[in-house]
Amino acid sequence: MSMKFEKRDLIKVILSVPIIGTISAALLSPFVRYLKPSSGPLATLEIFKTPDKPKPVKVIKFDVNDFPEPWSFKYFMFQETNREYTSINQQIKTIPGAAVRLPANEADGSPKFVVFSRVCPHLGCVFNFVPNEAEVAAGYNYTPNPGQKVFACPCHLSVYDPMLEDTKGRGKVVSGPAPRSPFKFNFNVNDGMLAIESLESGGIS
């Protein structure tokens, strides 16, 4: 009679899992730390929760009068310091962005803005603000409603509407494969100046 598996064996197996897990995690840790030097000791436990976040280099400022009417827009390059695992240790990366003035608030008439990173949250291409409705209809598989202005990505044809919101804020995806609205810059409007300060983290650049 062939006997293969007893209760006692089951207990052995269950007990061995945490022990083997601990040993392999301990052995793996130095290796992971070598490959990803920003992680601390016991990297295998900690590393997975602390992705490196880039830091902004300087604030970009625009005069609000540069946006004379609704849907005027400006492209800009925002600089960030990224951790880089070389002897230099960091690199400065430029992120293309776009600031668009939206139609004014009904209540007080003050200008409203959206400031998006132009790096597509889908697979990292650089997308554009395409105010021309005919161009969107011809090239991006999406026919805008009259008066609807959109951002559109040439790579995989995602279309973002800055007037609509999803759970991550303005720029809802109205067409295409993108999983979420664009990454947003944190900005404020003071004394007639639009100051763009930092970027929502996520994705690679």
Partner: protein, 499 residues
């Protein structure tokens, strides 16, 4: 000795250590890297020379690569210029670089053909499944070397292909939520109904959840593994100098490690690596050299991180995948990208019959044809920059699943409907596609009003129920069929064996 309690139930499903050992030993005995055990078959079937050519093309890339290392400068500032120098000023530099590139392309082509031969001629039968795995890992080596080698040129196409390639592992972090835990939509609906949350402070969009503490689960199950993979791969969170250094070292290290393994193998069993007359080998090398002379390897424009080229392309063997990324939402697309190699590696274990003729194995035939057609059609579509993401997906999904369905049908017919597990798996993935795809799956028919936009909209309840309900029904139906309805074919078979 008797088996008691829980142990007795589990015992019948867990193979003994000896069975596992025997399984591996049987397969290690039959290992074959470059068709060196099929020498006698070469006389009747010329396709068995592919293994030798695979070795030869690999050696061509290794040799020319070793020469190129002497001139290449792996820094972001100088990489592009150093390749221009190799191309224009170094004597025979263009030829060597061309042979390196076309040798690598030939390696991929030969590997693909060999893989198809293995499926068509059933080379994996008789405990030879690992040979297919070896061929596949050689292909992966080729793909990875191609991808990392491409970045070293530091041109526009390379930079953006790397960016796309490096972005999609990030979506692995969402596998847990989207596939295992019913998706954000369900969670949102539950919130609307008023199910109390365990951690009300964390919004669903950030992983906070209900019933299960999703934020916690996400941390401990997914471990941000996608983000970590990206950062280890790129040497930071951006493509830069660290990326070049890492890609450059891996580009050479993987080939070297592979080479050492192969040489140890041939040293231990004294077999010949190259089992084809050398005249034929020289002919192949001449073909590669001719390609390098007639079509000099192109340079493209220097990488510019702020301008995306249009259309965005990659190496030719990834083009079909790129087209798929246009159609499918990225989490599913990443899942499918992982699913393709897993399918290829596990198919031999599904094909357990004794038949070797391809016409007697309809499922393998159907999947081979489906893969080939998809590869060609998608590649052509992306080169011509044709993609209507709103109307195309239903057609190609129906086409692909249709071809596989024909294969499943004939397979079931031949094996007396004994294939119910496979059938269920197939339906499961069919419903997965239909439920998670972006567009409405009804072929442009004016059914919007009938089926209801809200019911079948992306990520809606309707889609999810189609997926979970449909796959569950398929499982139950096939189980029932298997269990209670014995088919005539099976009866005939049993009578035959009894007599």
């Amino acid at each position: 000795m008797s088996v008691t309690g829980i142990g007795s139930n589990i015992a019948q499903y867990i193979p003994s250590l000896d069975t596992v050992k025997k399984f591996f030993l049987d397969r290690f005995k039959n290992i074959d890297f470059f068709d060196e055990t099929f020498v006698d078959k070469q006389r009747e079937n010329v396709w068995y020379k592919l293994g030798a050519l695979q070795w030869l093309t690999w050696m061509v890339t290794v040799a020319t690569g070793a020469l190129l290392v002497g001139f290449y400068i792996p820094t972001a500032e100088q990489a592009y210029d150093s390749i221009i120098r190799i191309q224009e000023h170094v004597p025979f530099g263009a030829l060597i670089r061309g042979m390196h590139k076309y040798g690598a392309d030939a390696f991929i082509i030969v590997g693909t053909l060999k893989m198809y031969r293995m499926f068509i001629c059933a080379d994996y039968k008789g405990n030879r499944e690992f040979n297919l795995w070896i061929c596949f890992f050689l292909m992966l080596l080729g793909f990875y070397s191609g991808l990392s080698g491409y970045l070293l040129i530091w041109n526009q196409r390379a930079f953006w292909a790397t960016k796309v390639f490096a972005t999609f592992p990030g979506y692995m972090d969402q596998f847990g939520i989207n596939l295992a835990f019913l998706g954000e939509t369900v969670v949102n609906q539950l919130i609307k109904i008023g199910v109390p949350t365990s951690l009300p402070a964390i919004p669903v969009s950030e992983g906070g959840g209900i019933l299960l503490d999703m934020k916690l689960l996400n941390q401990y199950i997914n471990f941000n593994i996608g983000m970590t993979t990206q950062q280890i791969l790129l040497g930071g969170s951006a493509i830069g100098q660290a990326t070049i250094t890492r890609f450059y070292s891996m580009h050479m290290a993987l080939s070297t490690i592979g080479l050492i393994v192969v040489e140890l193998y041939f040293y231990s069993n004294k077999k010949k690596r190259f089992n084809v007359p050398w005249t034929e080998g020289f002919l192949v090398i001449l073909m590669i050299a001719a390609a390098a002379t007639i079509f000099p390897a192109e340079m493209g424009a220097r990488a510019n991180p702020s301008v995306t080229p249009l259309p965005i392309l990659s190496d030719w063997y990834f083009l079909a995948l790129y087209q798929m990324y246009k159609y499918i939402e990225p989490v599913l697309a990443t899942f499918v990208t992982v699913l393709i190699p897993v399918t290829v590696l596990s198919l031999p274990f599904f094909d357990t019959g004794k038949e070797t003729a391809i016409t007697k194995r309809p499922l393998i035939m159907a999947i081979s044809i489906m893969g080939f057609i998809n590869f060609i059609v998608f590649s052509v579509l992306i080169i011509l920059n044709i993609a209507n993401i709103n109307t195309d997906p239903p057609y190609w999904i129906a086409g692909s699943t249709g071809i596989v369905a024909i294969g499943v049908y004939f397979s079931c017919k031949m094996r007396g409907f004994n294939y119910w597990k496979l059938t269920s798996m197939f339906f499961l993935f069919l419903f997965l596609y239909l439920s998670r795809i972006h567009t409405v799956p009804y072929f442009g028919l004016p059914l919007d009003g009938v089926l209801g936009e809200s019911f079948l909209a992306d990520g809606s309840w309707g889609r999810l129920w189609i997926f979970y309900g449909g796959s569950f029904l398929a499982l139950v139906a096939t189980w029932y069929y298997e269990k209670f309805i014995e088919t005539p074919q099976l009866l005939v078979k049993k009578e035959g064996t009894a007599a």
